[in-house]
Symmetry: D2
């Protein structure tokens, strides 16, 4: 249950397994009257997809999103917005051998051990694929906060392995398929990725997020920091979150998020089978050598979702104060 829904007032409930018929979510609590169409959400999803064949995962799925409800004549109605993404590239053969073996570092063993259920199809619910849903929902939150509150959130790759990556230029960042904010570093990042891809291993990374807070959030820093912390810590592969030293009430905030190497790599790894016997697993599923890159838009989305929820809570409590009411 924990982990399937997020937010109290701007509430996202996600569903779907990576190799089931579809993934998607319901966004309940989005205010009415907001301009919204599938194209806008699709753009956010495309940004999450690997854009450089060869460097990242080769899964070619287009992630086409359909809006099932909550939007009428190009505007939100205030009712729940359901988003649907059909899974098309379901190649069971890649995963069929996992029927008897458990992948190290995945949740499968724990789950099977406890409940006797092993959805061996590509990580099932815990798959990185589920994050597409968060990106799609985040695009709605971003549309609302951007249109109504002028809020900005900007993420970039600030480290890969030991290589620090400075922020230099927003336009370079926008053009970078690897979310690198200084174009001079892009070839070096490509080189790191190529190395790890060749070795079948994976590498950790750090993502920086510059967040323009939507006005001084009245709940106080500890409250919104807790909500943001949960949003970011709840993303698979996140290992640490650091908030910068801004004074209370400042309107910009910088967050740094450390992302672990992906657990699915192409080198042989020791595991156990369902009978508890030692076994060697060679995963052939297509995986990123660095999930930190794909994590950039995912973490941005989580910030948008957390902020949208916080703003709605704020105006429930204080809307009247803004207009002299209470």
């Amino acid at each position: 249950m924990a982990g399937n829904s997020f937010g109290k007032l701007f509430r996202v409930t996600s569903f779907g397994e990576s190799h089931g018929p579809a993934i998607g979510c319901v966004v309940d609590g989005c205010p009415p009257g907001l301009a919204l169409d599938a194209t806008r959400i699709q753009r956010a999803l495309d940004r999450r997809r690997p854009r450089v064949v060869g460097a990242l995962s080769q899964r070619s799925e287009p992630d086409e999103v359909e809006i099932l409800s909550g939007v009428f004549e190009g505007r939100t109605t205030g009712h729940p917005i359901a988003l649907l993404i059909r899974n098309r590239d379901v190649r069971w053969i890649d995963y069929s051998r996992l029927d008897q073996l458990f992948r190290p570092g995945h949740a499968e063993y724990t789950y099977w051990h406890k409940y006797g259920i092993n959805d061996h199809r590509g990580g099932g619910r815990a798959s990185a694929r589920e994050t597409a849903v968060r990106v799609a929902a985040g695009a709605i939150a971003a549309a609302w906060l951007g249109q109504r509150h002028g809020v900005e959130v900007r993420g970039w790759l600030s480290r890969i392995g030991a290589l620090e990556l400075p922020f230099r230029d927003a336009s370079q960042l926008a053009a970078s398929p690897l979310f690198v904010a200084d174009a001079r570093f892009e070839p070096r990042v490509e080189a790191v990725l190529a190395d790890y891809r060749a070795s079948g291993d994976s590498v950790g990374a750090e993502v920086a997020l510059a967040v323009g807070l939507p006005g001084p959030l009245a709940a106080g820093r500890s409250a919104w920091q807790g909500v943001l912390g949960q949003a970011l810590m709840g993303v698979n592969a996140v290992k640490a979150v650091e908030f910068n030293e801004c004074d209370e009430g400042a309107d910009a905030l910088q967050i740094r998020v450390a992302v672990k190497p992906t657990p699915s790599v192409h080198r042989p790894r020791r595991t156990i089978d369902k009978a508890g016997r030692a076994a060697v697993l060679l995963t052939r599923g297509k995986r990123d050598p660095c999930v930190g890159i794909r994590a950039v838009p995912i973490l941005e989305a989580m910030v948008w979702l957390a902020l949208a929820d916080l703003v709605l809570r704020e105006r429930a409590l204080h809307a009247g104060a803004l207009t002299g009411g209470g």
Copy 2:
């Protein structure tokens, strides 16, 4: 927001407008390992559909449900179960004249007045069609409570207009398309429906629900009565709910629910248009002369959902007590 989700632990979030692309829901919190397939849910949906052409609404939609997630190899996985029902029979022409007029007794005027949005397609979100989703979700709750806890919930039509309808026989009830529990009364109910259909008017009704409580619910009567009350009162057209006089801790309970006449009838009715001018509206949309009949499986579903949520809350707090833990 209120009204789109129900339950704290066995949680249903519904979405969809009656004349949009689809309706559906996400059921989060259903325990793993439960035998479940689309056929079972479909059966519940079919039960809600008018089975006697001529007596009830003629909308011919088959309400085909698809399970998008949360079920693997015929069993629930413990992850969110998403259900999808595509809207097929979307005849806009029936509703196009409503672009400028408001239907008396519907929520449209309120909504338009406040937010400037009039989703004039058949009542939009407030449509009785949304209740199909509740029936589908209720079928999951029923499967779990039935398989695991031996709970039974049985609803029947106990009054139509002034005609009282006694309970006589469960097998007669099972065979009755009008949810009448004494077959001798079926022709009289048909006659009442025919009269109201002919006059274009509609009639109120009462539904009785016999509920076998799943063990003495520890939270105490006022708690579960509150949760059941919300579940039943939150159904469109419900006017009153009465709980019987059973002693605290008894394991059967009887509830009576009064259902209003449907507001959409075929007689000309006075209304206003968007400019505030008086107008006369003759609705041609297909409606039931008595929504109380269709309400039977809907109210049953709401009871199932409320009980499933209450049982999960119970075992969160007291599971240990049952096994000597705490």
Copy 3:
């Protein structure tokens, strides 16, 4: 858990047993800047107390409320408001014999059977005394809705036993210790009470509530009806709730609530002891012959709480629309 907290945004969490050290609650979500002091809350509590010695319960407890937090210099701060009412009149002797016997119609047997715990001190948590907390919290909701939104809620005794009691005059209602809205009926109500008091039995009643809805609630009738239904159905001794036939969007609403006779009466009643043996119980605890009278301010309070929560939800979703935002 269910039953201890109420509301999503205007959220009340109550605590305390009737014969423990204190009862109280925390009200989280009350907007800042509202004029509030203990006197206002005390007035609401006093209204709930029996004012006619002889007619109602003789428990003489003054129910003095203390505000522990959330109010500074006479105004709410937006932080949680904690209310505390010490229990003074704790006469254990009245209840000591209940250590081995269970009172018919109370929750004690269920609870003991399941968890082995019998808090035999006067009904413990399920006692009517817990409702003092709801009245106190309701006074805060009433202050806010009254001051900011001009909402009115008015309850009166509309039936006792078979005696129907019409609404006649608000000022007569205000002066009536028995919440009778037509002073000519007051002696007859007194007579009914005296009869039941003499016989040691108790009588059912009906409470009417006239509710001015705070503007057309956008969530739609089924949503707010569900929330109000839970609020009212969750009060001990409530048996049925009926909403009147107002059109969607109308700003007045009438609710009728049927209240059961109190289960604690002075006649000998059959019960069982902890060993499961049949026993006869003669309760000497002081109880009302008609809890329907005391129910009037309690049910009013529940309506206030439900409305405050609904209004906050509304403005979270729609506040922007009211000011051109969204």
Copy 4:
């Protein structure tokens, strides 16, 4: 609202301002039958209080806790447990000058600017004092998880300023008033504190937490990591949280939490007054030179609370699986 309550099933709602009449909380959802008394909670509170006069804050308040409800004859009843701590050492004079000035790094300016309310009494709700409540509630969670699930949580000071502090010995940690796990380092920590105390400045620190997870939590790492992340990030003065690299399903986990220097120091600092004019503020309130020390039991408490909530969620969803049910 965010920040005042924590947890979904093991739910804590806290209240109280540092210089109002009292602070406290309601813990709703604690299972029945658990051995609990005020002494146990008091011990946890005492552990949080400065034990070395001279090194830490000199506020001498004894933090005496009273259990108001939910415990009967030494055992929890399953009903809400209310805890009350009266504020005794309220020296307004220390804070009276803050009526017109704002303290840098505190939430006061933001709050006043937005709502026109300045509760200038010692930080009001945002004060570190509110954390006493979390420690008290955490002691209940610890009692339950310890008694029923054998879970252990152990925190220690792992860094002060630039000085790294290794873990050496649990018994040395238990005896250390500064939460140092290697007694040889204690004099050096004392020296650092003395330096900062003399200069009127404050120093950052790091707390390590060794957490024995209560069985493999089925919800998956991202879910419980998110919940723990919120719990820890929501503590005032926390700047960063890092989870160690344990494999999914491992039963021990290490967390590192970076704590900022306290914002209230004794050196003159620039601020503004209510008219917006520049001013210099010399705070005389008693503050710690290093809140990282006091943070140890607070962060432990937050871990306990998060785990208790996660275990209850787990057993709501899966309790049946453990006993063959579902």
